[in-house]
């Protein structure tokens, strides 16, 4: 993204500038480019803007004040200074090259050329169409703040700054995309975040040479992470400013991408995806309980189906006390196929639920529950136990707080079911082992993915299992290599 050797300077002849603009940005072709020419003290003054990115009231206001110059001033030699004074806006800058002019114009700034001057005024009054902060759908809490990041990067960074009013909070703006010129903001605490980490992330972002990252954060993520084919999410997304702010305090780096409300938290481990803001709003013990239940749910979503399938195929593995497990009536299709069909069917339902318009959702729910569930059992396609176990496993995956993680787990779950179906107990043991080894081997920017379980870190593991009260957890997690290890002074006692 660093080029511009042959810069074209702003010409003192205003007509040259106009021809350049016509050629470069297609002034009379694109309808959304606004252009206005007025005469001030017998000099031509031109105004360029992008309709839709600037408020038309402000444009009128600017025109009005500029035209009043004709009534109040007489010295046409000082027109530049007069115009500068009359533009009473917060951010007015002077630029000298046409490239800057074009970049600024297309970002939604207003450009003013004055005939005879080698500069252009750039007025920042842009106003992007967007929504106001709302509570994110995927990270709801019962109590606590209800604001969420928006598609506007300035609002998102502002929401973070509101939570950390620290002089050492850094919001570094980068631009990505030769054509899209998307703003990317790298946010970190200068005296906490590891220098190497910040540098690696910035280098990776600066190295991106692509025409556009219109899918915003996801595309950027694919450029940042190394294992591009891993099903597991190697970064964590959040739309909650409080979650992002607490990660900043822990020494993580947050990356915002303009046009996306999801902030990227780096680096992340498997267990980061198991956390949810909700447990930090509960009493520590209740929070711990919630976490425990969630671990069980995720564990079930991964292993329940393959283990049950193994017991169905080879009942000899069951101890005497548990011999009742297994279907009473196997149905007409082998259990392996029933489970695979069931998993695929549930995926149909899930995808349909995303795309179905709300008025049809009730109808879809009825079809799913009554027709598919009940009648499939009645006609003998599925055994009732199969439906039960598939449902429990599916609910387990919906409990996973990170959507990306639950989808990855589902893939692994399907893989394990297939392995057990084909190879029985070997499929299960070797399958689980290779899954674990794969997870251990994964890295998110040099961070082992299964930390703090493997590699084991006793203190961090306690923080994962128990939701420790904030006054008792005074050190930052070592995995981000914080420069400053303590979030509060250690008590003398």
């Amino acid at each position: 993204m660093k080029r511009r050797d042959n810069k074209i300077a702003v010409s003192s002849n205003i007509m040259d500038n106009q021809t350049y603009m016509k050629k470069r940005i297609g002034l009379d072709v694109s309808f959304d480019l606004g252009f206005r020419e007025i005469t001030l003290l017998r000099k031509k003054v031109q105004l360029y803007y992008v309709t839709g990115l600037c408020d038309s009231v402000i444009i009128q206001e600017i025109l009005e004040t500029l035209i009043q110059i004709n009534d109040n001033e007489a010295n046409s030699k000082k027109l530049k200074e007069i115009v500068n004074n009359r533009l009473v806006h917060q951010q007015v800058e002077e630029v000298e090259t046409m490239d800057e002019v074009v970049d600024n114009l297309l970002s939604g700034l207003i450009i003013v050329f004055v005939n005879g001057e080698k500069i252009a005024f750039v007025i920042d009054v842009r106003n992007y169409p967007g929504r106001t902060p709302e509570e994110p759908d995927t990270e709801r809490v019962i109590r606590g703040s209800r604001d969420g990041y928006t598609e506007n990067i300035v609002e998102s960074t502002a929401l973070t700054r509101r939570r950390i009013r620290d002089a050492r909070l850094r919001n570094e703006m980068l631009k990505v995309g030769e054509r899209s010129k998307t703003d990317v903001c790298v946010t970190y605490l200068e005296d906490v975040a590891d220098d190497g980490l910040v540098k690696t992330i910035k280098d990776k972002i600066e190295k991106i040479e692509v025409d556009g990252i219109t899918m915003a954060d996801k595309t950027l993520e694919e450029f940042i992470i190394d294992r591009k084919w891993s099903p597991y999410p190697l970064v964590r997304y959040t739309e909650r400013p409080d979650v992002a702010a607490s990660h900043l305090l822990e020494g993580h780096v947050i990356v915002f991408v303009d046009t996306s409300p999801s902030a990227i938290i780096l680096p992340t481990t498997f267990f980061h995806h198991m956390q949810h803001a909700e447990e930090y709003r509960e009493a520590p013990l209740t929070g711990t309980f919630i976490r425990l239940i969630r671990f069980i749910a995720v564990f079930i979503s991964l292993y329940l189906l393959p283990v049950w399938l193994l017991f169905v195929i080879e009942p000899t593995f069951l101890p005497k006390e548990l011999a009742f497990i297994g279907p009473n009536d196997e149905g007409n299709i082998p259990i392996t196929y029933q489970i695979i069909l069931g998993i695929i069917g549930l995926e149909f339902l899930r995808m349909a639920a995303i795309h179905t318009p709300t008025p049809l959702a009730t109808a879809m729910g009825l079809i799913a529950a009554v027709l598919i569930g009940q009648i499939a059992i009645d006609v003998g396609m599925f055994g009732p136990e199969v439906i039960l176990y598939i449902s429990v496993s599916a609910i387990g995956s919906y409990v996973t707080p990170s959507y990306e993680l639950s989808v990855a787990n589902k893939l692994i779950n399907l893989g394990l079911v297939l392995a057990v179906g084909f190879f029985g107990v070997y499929g299960l043991t070797i399958g689980v082992l290779s899954h674990l080894l794969f997870l251990i081997h994964l890295r998110s920017i040099k961070t082992p993915y299964l930390w703090p379980f493997i590699p084991f870190n006793p203190r961090a593991m306690l923080q994962i299992i128990f939701r420790v009260p904030k006054p008792y957890s005074n050190s930052r997690p070592s995995i981000v290599h914080p420069k400053n290890n303590y979030s509060q002074p250690i008590k003398k006692s």
């Binding site: 000899t316 070997y426 493997i454």
Partner: protein, 166 residues
Amino acid sequence: MQEEKKLEQNKREEPMSLLSRSLLTGFIGGLLFGSLGMVMYYFNFSEVSPKSYVLRSWVTEEWTEKWLGNIIAILLLGILSVLIAMCYYGLLRKIYSLWAGVLFGIILWGLCFYLFQPIFPNIPELSQLTNHTIVSTICLFVIYGSFVGYSISYDYYDTKMREANG
């Protein structure tokens, strides 16, 4: 300001040494994967219980059959595992690779099931074990080996990196 910075850096020192952290890892690993081994024995994935190694080979009192026997066995495994972690710490801690841990686990398995098998009176010979017992126990040892090995190696590597960065 300079002094303050120094103080903060002094504070950064971990309260536990590398060795004691490694031994703790070994202990926890023993408890965790010993229990997993017992679960595998319960579900007949393996005919050999960790209990038959550490307890039943020497003591055949009645209490060893009950839950007390299980708990004592798991604790013994934890202590045994501290020794194993010490071996890894002494020999292989400088190899920062997951595969060192995996290999370590396989070697441990070989020791337990082949080399030292004659010591334990109620462990059947390798040729008499069923295939799924062999596969299950190898898997268990591999994951145990990578838990102990990778943890110690990573901790060593991380501490060295931290010292290098000062």
